[in-house]
Amino acid sequence: MEREMERSVRPEEMEKPLVPKKSRFREICQLLGRNRLAFFGLIIFFLFFFSAFTGRVLTYGTKPVFNPGQVRLQEKLRPPLSLPNLETLRAEEVPMLGRYLFGTDELGRDVFARMMQGAWVSLTVGFVAVGIALIIGIALGGIAGYFGQNLVRMDQILASLGLLLGVGLMAAGRPVSGGALILGGGAYITVTLRWGRRWRKGDKTGWARVFFAGTLSIDTLIMRFVDIMLCFPSFFLILTVVALLPASIYNIMIVIGLTSWEGTTRFVRAEFLSLREQDFVTAARALGVGSGRIIFRHMIPNAVGPVLVSATIGIATAILTEAGLSFLGFGVPPPHATWGNILSDGKSYIFDAPWLTFIPGCAILLVVLSFNLFGEGLRDVLNPKLRKRS
């Protein structure tokens, strides 16, 4: 209302040639609509979401609508769309839709129900793993990019080494000395971070100077850590850890997340390094805005586009990795279906029952393809060089 009032008060505004107002979101939608491959990706993306959620709802619980675990040995290896032999089945064994939409596997389980159950696994693994990777990546990359020039002092390094040693001792079964080290190290770090500034000012001589000397910059520390992590062959590392840990879907998510944050870190760091030199950040700092507010309100919204793109492609990679792991027999314990283990179970019947290979394979392919296409499309759309002023 107020706006309209203002408008009506100042009629010269009306005379100006008005650019048709488009919100950022509308503009992005339009650009996506023009990019046919990305649009195709988006549609499959939504279909996948929908089927994963319905799959979760319909195959969950003690009396699920689609029972993925129902064994019918007399009905094994039926081709897709075949009708069940109603005379040999009990009432609860009859498939929900009256026919085997995707056929049955070597134990006579309904492949359609199993695919529905597996969709949820792929979805959650993709999103949770990428979520973990994003949190670590943005945090480390942001710190390296924004506070990178600060030096880490010798005493801080010693205190954190003490902290790590304490954790190690705790794990090795010596809680008293470990706990003492953790408490001491933690207390020292908090104290120096909060009140260190005033206390540090006095002149120091001899050993004290060595003790408080700045050693490495935070940036060096974090980026060398990234280099170290990049030295591990990632699939092999994931395989090792997953094989050593008890089989569970959560372990897979966490492990994939913990081994795929390096790219995001580098990315966010580069983005922050260039953003913090820009005028609007300087202006904010001149106004006396605190670091936290600058980072969260001014810098992250500007860095979010490229991160979103890499996250979308990261989801595709995570889904592929999970499928590869369950193909090798790791991860979700057997009665639960994932797309990878449906394919892995079906590979022995590849010439007799090819649908057991093709259906999960094509599903993985489609979903991963849609994420990749959508991610690439998003990159084009968010790239301001390609956006036309209309």
Partner: protein, 319 residues
């Protein structure tokens, strides 16, 4: 130059040290003990387990185990827990088999992706460009194991040749040409599979690089001078677009070890990846750690080579 090399070697050695510590900790702090791999096996009496623990220093504290393990590794005495064979010799045997795959796969990748990428850059937006773009997305997205089975079905049904394993079982001692053909058929599928992802990614990269160079001012100048299209593309643009790829020669080294676990286990190819996989299943820590260590060394050597090459090729870069 010398100071750069010295600095980076020192840096890489420090990195390697941390990699060795982290991989050791990851494996040893994970729940479960190697001496309990097979608790149901009646041969594993408590005395045997005790002797096993003694023999492989498992009763020592962690840092002593770490020192002992790396002392053994550098003196070449590390033995596999499974069969007491020296790890380095085992890896050496498997390495030869993986090398076949690696060489053929690398040749395929580098010979295919350049022509494809250059052609789609020159005919930007055309049918060829659009179809190769879609195809490369398809190849990036297809799960390796699924693609492997597709190819197995096609090749076995149309050519009726054996594809699993490294050579046909029970072939005996054939004349050399039959041995070669047999080996080639077995090599074909795994190396094509190993190359697909590489071709898709590298050809996209070549295309992007070409497009970027073609937009430069000196290319326009060359056109304006009246240089023929052919010369513009291949003499002015391509030569400069190739610059970043020189450095990628260093980065293909790590591919020697990683990335082939699934393919090697599908095709029963007795290579490094499969050995690592078997070692993981058997909790054969010395083998896992050694493979990890070697691959970290390869990554570091690869990045070092690519840094040096970059400096040699591009005089503007001073590291």
């Amino acid at each position: 130059m010398v100071s750069f090399i010295g600095r980076s070697v020192i840096q890489k050695i420090i990195t390697l040290f941390f990699v060795s510590v982290i991989s050791f900790l990851v494996i040893h702090l994970a729940p479960g003990k190697p001496s309990q791999v097979d608790p149901l096996n009646p041969k594993f009496t408590p005395e045997v387990v005790e002797r096993f623990r003694k023999q492989f220093h498992l009763d020592e504290p962690l840092h002593v185990q770490y020192a002992l393990y790396y002392r053994d590794l550098f003196t070449g005495k590390t033995a596999s827990w499974k069969d007491n064979q020296p790890v380095l010799r085992k890896i050496g045997e498997r390495f030869k088999n993986s090398l076949w795959l690696f060489i053929v796969g690398t040749i395929l990748t580098w010979t295919l992706s350049f022509p494809v990428g250059i052609r789609s850059a020159i005919h930007r937006g055309g049918l060829y460009d659009r179809s190769t773009t879609f195809l490369s997305y398809l190849l990036i997205s297809i799960p390796g194991f699924f693609f492997a089975y597709l190819l197995i079905i096609v090749v076995v049904n149309t050519f009726h040749v054996p594809v699993i394993g490294m050579e046909t079982f029970g072939l005996g001692d054939p004349p050399w040409y039959r041995w070669l053909m047999d080996r080639l058929w077995h090599l074909l599928l795994p190396s094509v599979l190993g190359a697909t992802g590489g071709v898709a990614i590298l050809s996209r990269y070549v295309r992007g690089q070409m497009l970027e160079v073609e937009g430069q001012d000196y290319v326009r100048t060359a056109r304006a001078k009246g240089v023929s299209e052919e010369q513009v593309h291949y003499k002015h643009a391509l030569r400069n677009a190739l610059l970043p790829f020189v450095t990628m020669f260093g980065l293909i080294l790590p591919g020697l070890i990683g990335g082939s676990v699934i393919i090697e286990s599908i095709f029963a190819w007795p290579g490094m990846g499969r050995m690592a996989y078997e070692a993981i299943l058997a909790r054969d820590y010395p083998v896992i750690l050694t493979v990890n260590f070697i691959s970290a060394v390869l990554v570091l050597i690869g990045t070092f080579i690519s840094d040096v090459l970059y400096m040699v090729v591009d005089p503007r870069i001073r590291l």
